[in-house]
C-alpha cells in the first residue's frame, strides 16, 4: 500500500495534467484547474516548511557549535527582524519592512553579486588560454561579444556590434538549441517514467 498509493496518485494526476493540456473542456478542465490550485497551496506551505527548516538548521548549529556557527545568530536575527516587522507593519510601500528591504536587503544583495566581476577577472586571467584552435576560437568569440556588449566596441570599429549579434544569433543559438532540445527530451522521458511508475527515486528510500 505504501508503494501503490503514491504511484497511483502520481499516475492519475500526471494523466489528468497531460489531458488538461490537450482537452480544454469539462470535466478535464475542472480537474486540471483544481490540481493546479492544490499545487499552489502545497508550494505556499513549502515556504513555511523552508523557514522552519532554516531555523532548525541554524539553532542546531549554535547548540552543537558546528563549523562557522558564529554566523548562525546573524542569520536568525536577520530572519526574525524581517519576519516580525512584516507581521506587525505589513509589507506595503513606505512601511518599516519595505524600508529595510529597499535600504538593507537590496544593497547587500547587489554588493554580493557585484563581487562576481572580481572573481571573473581573476579566473579569466588564469584559465582563459589559447592552448589549441578550439580554445582560440572561443577566446576570439568572447572578445567580440565583450566588445560588442559595450559602447566602446562600436567606437573601436562599428562592425563589432554586428559581429556580436551574428555570433549570438547563429553559432550561439545552434548550440543553445541543441542543449535545450536534449534537456527537453530528458524531461519528457523522465516525466513519462514517473507517471508510469518506472522512475521511483522521488519517493525516497528503496522499492
Amino acid at each position: 500500500m505504501r508503494l501503490i498509493l503514491p504511484l497511483s496518485i502520481t499516475f492519475i494526476t500526471g494523466v489528468i495534467m497531460v489531458l488538461h493540456f490537450f482537452v480544454p473542456h469539462q470535466p478535464i478542465k475542472l480537474l486540471g484547474d483544481n490540481l493546479q490550485d492544490w499545487y499552489l497551496i502545497v508550494a505556499s506551505a513549502a515556504i513555511f516548511l523552508g523557514a522552519l527548516n532554516l531555523m532548525h538548521v541554524h539553532v542546531r548549529k549554535i547548540k552543537l557549535k558546528l563549523k562557522n556557527w558564529k554566523y548562525s545568530p546573524v542569520t536568525i536575527a536577520g530572519f526574525m527582524v524581517m519576519f516580525i516587522t512584516g507581521l506587525i507593519y505589513g509589507v506595503t510601500e513606505a512601511r518599516p519592512f519595505d524600508f529595510m528591504f529597499m535600504n538593507m536587503v537590496a544593497p547587500m544583495g547587489s554588493t554580493m553579486f557585484s563581487l562576481l566581476a572580481f572573481f571573473v577577472a581573476s579566473a579569466a586571467f588564469r584559465a582563459f588560454r589559447a592552448s589549441n584552435w578550439r580554445a582560440t576560437l572561443l577566446l576570439t568569440s568572447a572578445f567580440i561579444v565583450m566588445l560588442g556588449q559595450v559602447p566602446i566596441g562600436a567606437m573601436i570599429w562599428d562592425k563589432i556590434p554586428l559581429a556580436k549579434v551574428w555570433l549570438m544569433t547563429f553559432p550561439n543559438t545552434a548550440g543553445q538549441r541543441a542543449v535545450m532540445i536534449g534537456a527537453a527530451m530528458g524531461v519528457v522521458s523522465t516525466s513519462l517514467r514517473m507517471i508510469f511508475g518506472i522512475e521511483r527515486s522521488y519517493l525516497g528510500g528503496t522499492d
Binding site: 493540456f21 493546479q36 505556499s44 544583495g109 586571467f125 588560454r129 559595450v150 549570438m168
Partner: protein, 279 residues
Amino acid sequence: MAGILEKLGNMDRRIIFVLIALSVIIPVTTHLTFPNPVGAEPSRDMYEYVDALPSGCDVLLSFDYGPSTMPELHPMAIALATHLLRKDINVVCMALWPEGASLGQEVMSGVADSLGKAQYEDWCNLGYKTGGGIMIVRLGSSMKAVFPTDRDNLPWEEIPMLENISDLTDFDLIITLSAGDPGVPAWVMMGGDRFGVPVGGGCTAVSAPQYYTYLQTGQMVGLLGGLKGAADYETLVGITGGSAIEGMAPQSIAHLVIMGFIILGNIAYFSQKKKEGRG
C-alpha cells in the same frame, strides 16, 4: 624579460582586484560617459513592439528578479515602465520571485508619480505568488483565482483597471524581467506557446545567450540583455541620465581591463611554453 613574464603569469590576484575596482571607480567618479548607439539588436525589436501597441491596451509586467540582479534589471524596469505609462498603456504587475513584488512596487510608484499616473487606474501590482510555470498555466484559466487580492490586499473586484481582465489571454503583451528560474522560459512556454500571448523581456547579460533561441523562432518579440540592453532602451525611450547609460562607461573600461588581463595571461603562458620547449 623571461623573468618578468614569469612574474606576470603568477600575478597576485589582489592586483587584479584593485585594477578592476579602479576601472569602475574612476569612470563613475569622473562621470565619464560614452555615446550608446543602438543598432539592429533585440533591444530595438522590443522597443518597436511596445511602441506599436495602441493606447489603452493591457500589458502584464512580471518582476522575476531579486536584489542581487537589480543593477542590471532595475534600469530596464524603469525604462519599460516609463515607455508603457507614457503611451497610456495599462500595466498590471506581478512577480514570480518573492522580492520582485517590492522591487516592482518601487519602480512603478516612482515612474507613475513622475508621469502623474494613478495606481489602480493606470497600473496595479498583484504581488508575488509561488508556483512558477504551474501558476502561469492557472493564470491562463483565471487570473482572479491566483490573485484574489492585489499586493496591498485590495480585492480584485475593487480595482477598476482589472474590469476587463479575466485570464492571461486578455493581455496584449507579457513582459518578464528575469534573473533566472522561474522567468523567461516559463513565460515563453506557458504564456506564449500555450496561450498565444506575445512575450518580451529582459534578463541578465549572462543568461541572454540562452534566450536568443526564442528570438529566432519568434517566441519572443524582443529581449533586453544585461546593462547594455537597459542602456539601449533608455536611449530609445529618451531617458537622460539613466543609470544604465551611466553604467556603460565603467562597464566598457572593465571589459577592456579584463581583456587586457587575458592577453597578458596568454603572453605569459606562451612564454612559459616556449621556455619549456627549449628546456
